[in-house]
Symmetry: C2
Subunit: 459 residues, 2 copies
Amino acid sequence: MANKIPTRIYLSEDEMPKHWYNLRADMKEKPELLLHPGTLKPVTSADMEAIFCKEPVKQELDDTTRLIPIPEGIQDFYRAYRPAPLIRAYYLEKDLQTPAEIYYKFEGVNTSGSHKLNSAGPQAYYAKEDGLTSLTTETGAGQWGTAMAMACAFYGLKLTVYMVKISSEQKPYRKALIEAYGANLIPSPSNTTQTGRKILETDPNTTGSLGCAISEAIETAVNTEKCRYVLGSVLNHVLLHQTIIGLEAKVALDKYGIKPDIIIGCAGGGSNLGGLISPFMGEKLAGKLNARFIAVEPASCPSFTRGRYAYDFGDTAKTTPLIRMQTLGSGFIPSANHAGGLRYHGMNSTLSKLYHDGHLEARAETQTEVFDAAVRFMKVEGILPAPESSHAIKVAIDEALECKRTGEKKVILFGLSGVGNFDMTAYMAYNNKTMSDYIPTDEDLQKGFSSIPDIPQNG
Amino acid sequence: MANKIPTRIYLSEDEMPKHWYNLRADMKEKPELLLHPGTLKPVTSADMEAIFCKEPVKQELDDTTRLIPIPEGIQDFYRAYRPAPLIRAYYLEKDLQTPAEIYYKFEGVNTSGSHKLNSAGPQAYYAKEDGLTSLTTETGAGQWGTAMAMACAFYGLKLTVYMVKISSEQKPYRKALIEAYGANLIPSPSNTTQTGRKILETDPNTTGSLGCAISEAIETAVNTEKCRYVLGSVLNHVLLHQTIIGLEAKVALDKYGIKPDIIIGCAGGGSNLGGLISPFMGEKLAGKLNARFIAVEPASCPSFTRGRYAYDFGDTAKTTPLIRMQTLGSGFIPSANHAGGLRYHGMNSTLSKLYHDGHLEARAETQTEVFDAAVRFMKVEGILPAPESSHAIKVAIDEALECKRTGEKKVILFGLSGVGNFDMTAYMAYNNKTMSDYIPTDEDLQKGFSSIPDIPQNG
């Protein structure tokens, strides 16, 4: 017997969004502008175009255009793996015996295994439009590196990926996948850049860091003909591309006349969360939707719940523009035992502003409880969730159980941003009960805060 | 601009098949009956029910009922991850510059990563219906073990998986996934069975074999209260469950009035190939469809192209009923360097009969050429294919290039049975050019043939 609301709602190609939605245009209180770290004045296109592609820079600095057309060449890329399904969690609802209706937007149905492809495609497309022949980027856990390798193979661009050295050693399969797509993978630090050589001179046995990999990727991009650098999260143009998630979800829900009461997403740099909530938040700000929005972060890296709202650097080497955001300080280092991604010290500026102004709630969750939720979910829903995405599952289950207690039939929507196929070491630690739930002490946080620059706006 | 025929065709829940299709009912020349190895008489339900669940045994022995209803409890399971998309390979067509239209039925969009779940669900469901509390099975590469672990978690059954020892050591992530779903995983040979203990006594350092794992799983099932054994390929009831693949594909093609000219699938034990082609072969046998059917096997394990059509055992320990099939002999051992699955010595009896009678063609392909095709495919279509499935890709590309040569606009349909996320060691060997293309010599084959039993029917 087929369900009245199907288990999986797929849009037709005609129903797929033709524009991204720029939430900033509908915010009366806009996120603060990016500042040049030298002059402390707003950055210009020219500043940014030395590093990034032209159209993404334009999108980054545009906080007034509501709808930004998705070029046909990018729609073509999206059709290769989208639409992503909106899934009604019938099996989870039954397992929880909740009166709540639970829906999740599943972004793991592609080989990169996550939502990252939604911005990798556009960024490669715009590079091609700019007449570039190659790109550089960095990758930690490997999702972004895989997504960029796929996008560059699709558009016929060369790609160099600086992969954090310890990660490239611990995740040989991610490395193999990135290489199979034809990308040049370099464990970082490397002797291909000044930055890398300098670090290796001081500490030949270093295992690398994301901050160092970013610096190497930028240095290579700047010193290579017809080459630029691409980034997979944090920035507003990345969040813009990710609004395809929320837009598709909204079309699917609207088809069945469903209005969400609670919208939940996991948050690292914020692109997945922001992409999911943008169109719904736009309705809320316009007084058309009465919903709660919850960001879920790991207790080990709590930039929302324990961070500061301050101007800070995006990287540890302090080379990026200054971003006003929720931050733990670019010097903050999350516990080495932390299993998933979501290890970034800061948060997208738009989401930070929404949180600061009280439109967005946030919760921090510990690893073991997150994996408890993941395993409960995977046994009934059949999907192996990424550790990152499982943070959203944890809070969705908590909210559904709260509905069970109160008897309320709320509609819960959460983002399942990816699958855990390449994260089995984390599941092994969970199976073996060797997972750590370390939460940073106030002292740990203080150390991170001390790296936040001391500039007038932060006073 | 949306495509006239969408890139991905998804059925609605109402359109999903409510019956499996039993091809044998429409074959004038039926596959030979299973024989009891002691009496050489056809096996009875009673013989088989000591090991297997009741309904699967009934299905195994039924070669006259055309349509077998899919119980609502199994349709409910199918809705958790189906329908699987039928994909128009627009990007591959463009890359090949072929006038051919290429479609593939993609069965990798679930956590087990393959079509195996289509039979794991039904087998677990019937076990529950029989009042059983546990099941046993074996797994080599791990796809079937994962699928059964998922199905048993869904229906609330205990599961013991005997995993070939070397595989459990070389594929710790598969092991972790099976365990995360709550199954009890035992590296085989083990000291939990007589068979295992005997082998360990003789050779304590053995790395195990699928034949031994099967024997241990059967022994445990027979000696445990309310427990039976389940198998993931070769048998006709497994092929029956897999017809969901071909039935969905046919509904999707019929919606757009498309008739395939060539249908291609990879073949190990035959369940994926048989599931895909069954409804189309039924039409061909009835004179309603003029299509070619091609089975693709690895050159390292060529049961169709170089095997014999003879009665043989299904396992190396020679405990199963005798099956008339294309076989290399149960003693045949494929090269250790062979990367993917498709290592089985025999072939489903229905497919063997169709091949023997000239309704089905077969081709054998070498590893490196198969991976060349896989990488070409993944760069444009964005999906990382399983090594097994890539055999079908290889021949689909060959046929599309033949169309380019002749200018014919044929419709090619192939089965993409799974993804390669847990097969990255094989891709690493390909990237590093350390992959072997060993093809068995006539002497190798002769050794295998000598294990085929010497019984009157084989004379």
